[in-house]
């Protein structure tokens, strides 16, 4: 029996670039970044005072009782479901969302009471707001979804793991529809301090918008971001039957672990995940005509990912465009795979290959076509979207654009 094909019929996204797929398409076409000095709290005593921050004004008053990461997830999911249309059967709908950090905003404010303000009582919603599945559960409640559901936590690979697993659930017949993606809100003082201690955050040089420089010799680390991306997935057959617009196809999912160091990446782990995604899609490696890179702008990731791409693509490596959009919106951790896939899909579907901003070249170990600084017109049909997380977690999605879906 032919495996069921899984298509995207709804896309929702909120990040520093704005709220909604349209704002992300506009940013991709303009080659615009949005990393800024943190404004939602006073960052003056931090070493790193910048981030890809979602302006509070973008979601004023919406879902006020939920943690920030769940609010992002709800807003993205609402957009995706609205686009997909009303024909979702809640009993056959899964919710599978990823997060790296969960309800950090709630935890930090509650802990501050306890440890700093000398209080002994915690707000009663501390646990239900902060739990890692709060976003998944909020989406299920919002849409009355009663099919399969849980939350994926695998650091910065969380969203890709969630989307890939959701696609496999549909493929296997476990559910008909899935609301999936990832959400994170790590721009809190305690989390930023934790990242500072790892010495992998880029300092701002006075201009936050140029701090994050993926694949460039002068890169100085990552910039944290926040937000959520959401997709509605369903079978190709059901999308055709109900006349839903098909926005892409989650054709394959590849996973691997490095099985070694906690934070240092390997070439082999990401390579096996990329190979696995192409194989799972029933495609050939020479069909890959774009790669949405993990591209964190850390010293360690970028050359390692480049080496893995050389091994994957062979002689074609120099000709396949590879870009990291993290210089635009920051590294949104457990949300990054979903935000980046949403951005890439809407851009590629409109014929735009997103750029890698702030690229000056010069690193002999980063020698691919990174679509430097300016977006490019191109007709991409089949691409990979990479997410690699601390702990050696690698998750790659193989995706067909509207051009590639037959």
């Amino acid at each position: 029996m032919k495996p069921r094909r899984v298509v995207v019929t709804g896309i929702g996204v909120i990040s520093a670039l704005g709220r909604g797929a349209r704002s992300h398409l506009d940013a991709a076409v303009a080659g615009r970044g949005a990393i800024r000095f943190i404004q939602n709290f006073d960052p003056s005593n931090l070493i790193c005072r910048i981030g890809g921050e979602v302006p509070d004004s973008l979601m004023a008053g919406e879902h006020p009782s939920a943690d920030r990461f769940a609010r992002f997830a709800l807003i993205a999911a609402e957009e995706a479901v609205a686009q997909s249309g009303p024909a979702i059967d809640p009993a056959r709908t899964a919710v599978l969302f990823g997060t790296g950090m969960g309800g950090t905003t709630t935890l930090e404010s509650s802990y501050e009471r306890l440890f700093s303000a000398g209080q002994t009582r915690m707000p009663p919603m501390t646990i239900p707001k902060a739990m890692y599945n709060a976003a998944t559960s909020a989406i299920a409640s919002r849409f009355g979804a009663t099919g399969p559901g849980y939350t994926v936590v695998s650091a910065c690979a969380s969203a890709n793991h969630a989307i890939g697993q959701a696609a496999h659930w549909i493929r296997s017949g476990l559910c008909e529809t899935a609301i999936t993606g990832g959400s994170d809100a790590p721009l809190m003082p305690g989390i930023i301090r934790g990242w500072e201690a790892l010495r992998v955050l880029a300092s701002d040089d006075g201009d936050p918008s140029t701090a994050c420089k993926p694949f460039s010799v002068d890169r100085r680390g990552l910039s944290l971001g926040e937000g959520a991306g959401a997709l509605v997935l369903e079978t190709h057959e059901s999308a055709i039957r109900r006349g839903a617009e098909i926005l892409g196809e989650i054709a394959g999912f590849g996973l691997s672990m490095d099985g070694g160091h906690l934070t240092d990446p390997t070439v082999e782990g990401p390579l096996r995940a990329m190979e696995g995604a192409v194989r799972d899609a029933g495609a050939r490696i020479d069909e890959v005509d774009y790669v949405n890179a993990h591209g964190t702008a850390t010293k360690a990731n970028d050359p390692t990912e480049t080496a893995a791409l050389h091994r994957l693509l062979g002689a074609r490596a120099a000709r396949v465009p590879v870009s990291s959009t993290k210089a635009m919106h920051g590294h949104a951790m457990g949300a990054s795979g979903a935000i980046e896939l949403a951005l890439a899909l809407v851009a590629l579907n409109s014929g735009t290959i997103p750029a890698t901003l702030n690229w000056r070249g010069g690193d002999p170990d980063c020698d691919l076509d990174y679509v430097p600084n300016e977006p490019r017109a191109g007709a991409v049909r089949f691409f990979l979207s990479n997410s690699f997380g601390f702990g050696g977690m690698n998750a790659v999605l193989a995706v067909r654009t509207t051009r590639g879906v037959e």
Binding site: R121, P123, P124, M125
Partner: protein
Amino acid sequence: MEQKQLEEQILEIVRQEKTIPEHLDLSAPLADAGIDSLDALNILFAIEEKFGIHIPDDRARAIRNLDDIVAAVREQIPQ
């Protein structure tokens, strides 16, 4: 504190936590006012903060209506 005054103070806190009907039967189940289990926890928390008291768990679990809340608070505030 006068009973009526205490009721007013408690209702004011309840209204800060939750939109409730203007005219309430204090003896009606909390659900009639749209107050669910988590709302009740938030309300008790806010009351404890305001009065600087602690309502024991056994006492809190027995609360069914606003009258019960008022009574539980009265037990904890110095006469």
